[in-house]
């Protein structure tokens, strides 16, 4: 008997204590003052600029802790000076007449987080090191593809010699995370530079010049940054703790409870946040990573999964590719999985990138009549077909494939789409094979700041995917497409460059090499008490610079 009473009162005590000591939100009162808590949806793989892959979680940490010579400002795509005091141009002599030499004047008095001073040595070291390590998972190619050599003129002057003129050097290469400036002293004291080998110290530690200092990374839990009091520019106001992992709805709840100040979430949760107390939803833009499904025109004989009935040259016929593009239910995809947040872009210039033509023809509506006509013309209507599409499971790509499946199968019951939703690692492995053993796969494009990267990677017949997918087998005029893309890459006159991209977008509509589901909308939510909130899609996801925020 005594025991039972004991238990009863003990549990009362626990709950009373829980309520008393739990951080219940008082409406209006700012939680965690002085600290910004951001709930992220993915975790960095590495914190080393020479190792980080474009588009993965480590890039945003690098953005906060390291600086580059130039940066993109929060308000527009225009460049702003950072470690370089002015933007090199033809008029100020920063760019040589032949467009091959760029000279940067560095800011004086800048110190690294360990107290040492920044000199041109560090800049050259940072760039050279990335190129020498040449890590397969990193982005060294962005530098080594265009740079012939780097030089030090004096302590505060750094010079780069390109191998050929490039329209995207400043606005893309110089501002990319791989071009971040690290402390030579710190690296040399911790493993130095070894070709083809990652540096363990740099992968888990950071010594930079940026507004934030790295504190600790508790794997799968959180990552903490603190304000750099001796920053050369405007100081950050809040320390940062990035919460890692956890389900999307846990993040939503945490935001509503005030535990998190900003969260990354996906469009399907906006409905739960609308009208919530103290929460502001920001939907001011589009991600620069269009969601797409690829057509393989280079399928090795007999390699397709069991169940596929198509021939290896199925996608050589532009009518088939066009028919797929017409059959996809874009509105269903936009309104369902994307909850209305997104837009449709032409092949292949995303909205928000230079060169995007708002008047270009775009696939944005399901058109069964046109799709049927094209399938009939191509001769596959009566017989039908079955084809697989491989994708990562459990995310937007899988949903896009399900929409494709439903769209195609409802058009004609003889059509079958098998969705092979596999684990990410399996997908990455399959995706890296050349030639590819699948007819279709779904993913999103890598983000970039310049249209040339998209065109080279995703449309050029000799480009990365052009080669793997065999675009040359399918384009009506492959040579012309290649020529246009190449000339736009080196064309330094913005007006002429625009015109070339305009022409490309029209040609590619009739000769699509992809099915572009949509360009995903940016969806972020934050607490009302957060001031200074600004997003710039050209910054690595989540496109935020925490140094601007205050509570």
């Amino acid at each position: 008997m005594n025991f039972k009473y004991f238990i009863k009162y003990l549990s009362y005590g626990f709950f009373a204590g829980a309520i008393a000591l739990s951080p219940v939100t008082v409406i209006g009162q700012v939680k965690n003052p002085g600290l910004l808590v951001h709930a992220a949806d993915d975790e960095p793989t590495t914190l080393d600029p020479a190792q980080v892959e474009p588009g993965e979680g480590g890039e945003t940490i690098i953005l906060q802790v390291y600086d580059r010579l130039l940066d993109i400002g929060p308000a527009s795509a225009a460049l702003i000076p950072s470690l370089a005091v002015e933007i090199p141009s033809l008029s100020n002599g920063g760019i040589s007449g032949d467009g091959l030499t760029y000279t940067f004047k560095l800011r004086s008095g800048v110190t690294f987080h360990d107290g040492t001073s920044l000199t041109a040595d560090d800049v050259k070291y940072s760039w050279d090191r990335a190129m020498e390590m040449n890590l397969p998972e990193g982005n060294a190619g962005a530098l080594s593809d265009v740079i012939a050599s780097t030089e030090i003129i004096d302590d505060l002057t750094f010079r780069v010699n390109l191998s050929e003129p490039s329209a995207s050097f400043l606005n893309s290469t110089v501002v990319s995370m791989v071009a971040s400036v690290v402390s030579q002293d710190a690296v040399e004291a911790n493993g130095g530079v070894k070709a083809e080998t990652p540096n363990r110290f740099m992968a888990g530690n950071m010594v930079g010049t940026g507004p934030y200092k790295f504190v600790v990374w508790n794997r799968n839990e959180n990552l903490q940054l603190e304000v750099n009091e001796s920053y050369w520019g405007d100081n950050a106001k809040l320390d940062v703790r990035i919460e890692i992992g956890g389900d999307p709805d846990v993040r939503v709840l945490g935001l509503r409870a005030g535990e998190f100040d900003t969260i990354e979430t996906d469009p399907s949760f906006i409905a739960d946040l609308e009208g919530a107390d103290g929460v502001t939803i920001y939907t001011g833009g589009l991600l620069l990573e269009p969601l797409h499904i690829g057509f393989n025109l280079n399928i090795p004989k007999g390699s397709l999964p069991d169940g596929d009935t198509i021939s290896e040259d199925f996608f050589h016929d532009p009518r088939i590719r066009q028919a797929f593009n017409h059959a996809f239910d874009y509105q269903a995809f936009l309104n369902g999985p994307l909850a209305g947040y997104g837009a449709f872009n032409p092949h292949y210039t995303p909205i928000g990138i230079f060169g995007h033509d708002a008047d270009a023809p775009v696939y944005s509506e399901k058109n069964y009549a046109e799709a049927e006509r094209l399938f009939r013309e191509a001769g596959v209507w009566d017989e039908g077909f079955a084809v697989s599409v491989i994708t990562e499971e459990g995310n937007l790509f899988a949903l896009m494939c399900l929409v494709l499946k439903d769209s195609i199968e409802r058009l004609n019951p003889n059509f079958r789409i098998n969705v092979l939703a596999v684990a990410e690692s399996v997908f990455d492995d399959a995706h890296a094979q050349n030639p590819l053993e699948y007819a279709m796969w779904a993913k999103n494009a890598d983000p970039a700041a310049d249209p040339n990267f998209y065109m080279q990677a995703y449309q050029h017949p000799d480009g990365e995917w052009g080669e793997v997918h065999g675009f040359a087998n399918g384009y009506r005029d492959a040579a012309k497409v290649g020529e246009l893309i190449d000339s736009a890459a080196t064309e330094l006159d913005p007006a002429k460059r625009s015109a070339i991209y305009r022409e490309l977008q029209t040609i590619l509509y009739d000769d699509p090499m992809w099915l572009i589901g949509a360009q995903e909308g940016v969806v972020m939510a934050h607490r009302d008490w957060l001031k200074g909130f600004a997003m710039q899609p050209l910054w690595p996801r989540p496109s935020l610079k925490f140094s601007f925020f205050d509570k």
Partner: protein, 337 residues
Amino acid sequence: MQLRDYIIRRLMVLPILILGVSIVVFTLTRVGGSPIGIYLSHEMTPEEVLKIEERFGLDKPVLVQYIQWLKGIVSGDFGWSGVASAPVAEVFPIKLAATLELATAAGLVALFLGITLGTFAGARRNRFPDHLTRIVAVSGASLPQFWFGILLLIIFWAQLGIAPIGRSDATIFASISHPTGLYTIDAILAGSIRALWDAIWHLILPALTLGYGATAIIARMMRSALVEELQQDYVDAARAKGLAEKLVIKRHARRNALVPTITVIGLTFGFLLQGTITIEIIYRWPGIGRWMADSVLRGDQATLMTYVLFTSVLFLLVNLIVDVIYANLDRRVTLGK
């Protein structure tokens, strides 16, 4: 003498079993799936893939890889975790401590609830309370842990706001040092009531959820053991002497019934070990269970292999200890009687 021989025999078989497990788990990761996948970035070329293969030794023949792996284990190198972006050996102890804390708390819950329920049911065999208790206990074993946990989370976290998720409040956690890695112990060592409360408060819901699941195992055993005890001669004798029923049960029968209940400790331990996987996912507990689930989904075979090997060894050891204890007790009991 027999007991010592038994122990020695079991101990000798142990390394063979562990080796067997290592072969099974290694073969699994090489035969299916894609051991390299996790180290790849998106959009890598085949040449780049080759470089990564060389870095992790995945270009060598399978047998050589197996030997390398074993050699690595002996020298404390369990591979590189793609999920944690750090050596497995570095991250494992930290997360293990978190899981151990949770499992122990849950085990205490299961022990308490199981023995209570089992005694209650066993003493009232085949009457209504027995059936009701049986349903309650069996429910614990039938519940999809993940679903039950989510339900509790909605009620106590989302709606009532009196339960937290995760293991700790980051600020309080950072305010004390962590010599053992067990939050409760470290809080006591640091003399911080605030941290101790933080630790316990975060433990309640996950421990209850996990513990309830294991309750059925103990309750079932306790009940049938008690029933059997109550049929013994000495119980009749005690009743004839006029001792109160409750006293008979409490003092003698239950204590004796606890003996066979020891045999299910191994089973309970196995249940708790497996249950931590889903419970940690739901409550965002930073233990090895959640890490394992991530590794499974993302193909982090270094973590996977280490985890399976570790849990199997633990499982084997616990079962061995339990068997030895029981054999020892059994011998004494048979000798005594």
